[in-house]
């Protein structure tokens, strides 16, 4: 696997852990262990997202690379072939 795919899969894994914990915390808002795990996964996901976007372009329109053109529209989109695995081809 190339670096872009590896990094995106790591982000997907942490984001999944975060979403599953989010649902758990919705019905268990005082669970200290889940809250601690959420904080750990959130730090990891934010760090990986920063690395990914600086190398491979925006995951959301709120990341604006220092370029003269709008990179958000770049192929592939998630439904394109391999798009669910890797997104912005530079």
């Amino acid at each position: 696997m190339d670096e872009q795919t590896t990094l995106l899969e790591q982000i997907m894994a942490y984001d999944f852990a975060l979403y599953d914990l989010q649902l758990f915390l919705d019905t268990h808002p005082s669970d200290a262990n889940a809250l601690r795990d959420y904080k750990i996964a959130l730090d990891q996901a934010e760090n990986l997202r920063r690395q990914y976007q600086s190398k491979f372009g925006p995951l959301t329109p709120r990341y604006l690379p220092n370029t003269t053109c709008w990179q958000w529209i770049n192929d592939p989109w998630p439904w394109d072939p391999k798009g669910g695995m890797s997104n912005v081809a530079l």
């Binding site: 997907m12 979403y19 758990f24 798009g83 669910g84 695995m85």
Partner: protein
Amino acid sequence: MWLYEKKTQYPINIKKPDPRMAMNILTQYGGPNGELAASLRYLSQRFSMPTKETKAILNDIGTEELAHLEMIGTMVHQLMDKVPPKELERLHVDTLYAVHGRAVYPSDSNGVPFTAAYIESMEDPIANLNENLAAEQKARATYEYLIRMADDPDVIDPLRFLREREVVHYQRFGEALRIVQEVMGSKKFY
């Protein structure tokens, strides 16, 4: 509101087209137990949820269902993409092609269009949460039918992920029902 993120919730990369399987999976896009019905059901019901926990869980599961809708659409698209019309005819998928081409359209596997009649949204949270428990089980059963018919690991893997999410959502809705029942039992509700 929502902010789009340019990735699927779970990796999808289907290398081998399979129009029959695309047609089967299509029911989880716009069919009675599909992801569109799920997201619209929960995102509509959230407005009448009585507690902070239940507002949050309906909002957040409804949002996850939109990500599942995107996963199913991606699978249908990749399974149908660029398959020649004659091949679709040979595989008996040509009736869908005659109506929509190879597009992703919200219908069930028989081409019956999506209808909001698949869902209910009532002011009564007990009625809503019981409907949601049933809906998650029906979706789980549907994913099991689909997994039994699939033979490509690229297809089976995301279907297994989606099946597992139905089980987790069922668990969370059960907790939400218990929370609502406790609140209603502890004070005069009406």
